[in-house]
Symmetry: C2
Subunit: 210 residues, 2 copies
DNA sequence: CAATTAATCAAACGATTGATTAATTCATGT
DNA sequence: ACATGAATTAATCAATCGTTTGATTAATTG
């Protein structure tokens, strides 16, 4: 077989990368073979080397892309929070968006988590654009202009990230165990998280309007 | 070379497993070769198959051993907490022991964390003996006889686990960033964690006695 | 239209993998 | 003293790994 009637280099390149992201995210880099990636993306084995130089090059491209996704999500999360007026709605937005992030960017979180385990730290060059937009937005909850959450609030904020990560690990079963919403639909779990965050961080329950 | 003057089957077996734990913890199972394990433990390649049947068998043995370590640590942590009288000292013990656990059982936490990423959940058969002893002990903080922490306290307790995990990832640099103890010695970081936990969970700072 | 380039694949490469085999040495019981 | 079994190794195996090569075909250019 030679060049097919419909040959699209850019499309093929991203198709390979997207397949690789999924596989790297759920199996890890070392446990994923280039043949597996080629098969999953419907191209021949040689395409991996052709488009990304090496398996390591493809992996790096995947990690970069996922960092981009998380950075973009962080900006969007920060923006959504900055559009809210009351501390209560800011907090609710934060929890809701974190929950949404965990569901929609599961592979990104998993892949970065694996990379974090391998390296022992976040990529220092990416620390700023993936974390700061979110952290800065939280400052409005407490009238702090420095962009840093108050001392007492770092642990709860870490909790949000922790729950996001846990959710991304497909451990919904354990998330329900923790929240106590064993048989409830996913909406109830989210509601519970919002309620808990309110009581814990703001000191009062959310206004039960809707 | 045949049987050496000092041949000790049991010692060799555990030596192989201990070397394997370290390598599996920092590199992951797929990225670690049996030759690497053999070299690290000073024996020939064939010993891995001889003592553990296969690489997978060795890996399973490592995971089991680390689950045992964590279960034992959970019991000890629960015991230490149950010997304290005031809520304040109970909480301080919990934070201190979690911190100590993260430093002394770094490989165990890393290995189980990798397994968690691979499987998507904790081994259901191990959930009880690794988590319950600790969770039960926390109930005394609130006079709850059910062994379950009150609703509002699950997130902070998760925070402790989260920080333990983060610390185990060698990301002390980021732990200092979070706590704000950038240049302080490790004791100051621990002190800060205890103080934060007090204000957050109990609502008042620790009595500054010592 | 002829020549060149771009996109793709099948096949093969050498290296490395986890696993096995056969041999060797030490200890032990009779 | 000698046979038996446990502990260990060097050498080797087939399979699989990531990568490269050479060929083939569609598009592009002049």
């Amino acid at each position: 077989m030679g060049r097919p009637i419909q040959a699209n280099a850019e499309a093929t390149r991203t198709r390979i990368r997207e397949s690789a992201v999924k596989l790297f995210a759920v199996q890890g880099q070392a446990a994923t073979t280039t043949r597996e990636i080629a098969r999953a993306s419907g191209v021949s084995l040689a395409m991996v080397s052709h488009y990304f130089g090496s398996k390591q090059g493809l992996y790096t491209a995947c990690v970069d892309a996922m960092y981009d996704e998380l950075a973009e999500a962080s900006v969007r999360l920060g923006g959504a929070m900055s559009h809210e007026a009351s501390p209560s709605s800011i907090l609710e937005t934060a929890v809701r968006e974190c929950f949404h992030l965990a569901r929609t960017r599961r592979d990104a979180i998993r892949l970065i988590l694996r990379k974090l385990l391998d390296d022992g730290e976040l990529d220092p060059r990416r620390r700023e654009d993936t974390l700061l937009p979110f952290l800065n937005a939280t400052s409005r909850l407490f009238g702090d202009a420095t962009g840093r959450p108050a001392e007492e609030l770092r642990l709860p904020l870490q909790s949000l990230v922790y729950l996001t990560v846990r959710h991304a690990l497909n451990t919904e079963k354990e998330l329900r165990l923790i929240t106590g919403c064993n048989d409830d639909p996913e909406d109830a779990v989210l509601k519970h998280l919002i309620d808990t965050a309110h009581r814990l961080i703001l000191g009062f329950p959310p206004e039960t309007l809707s």
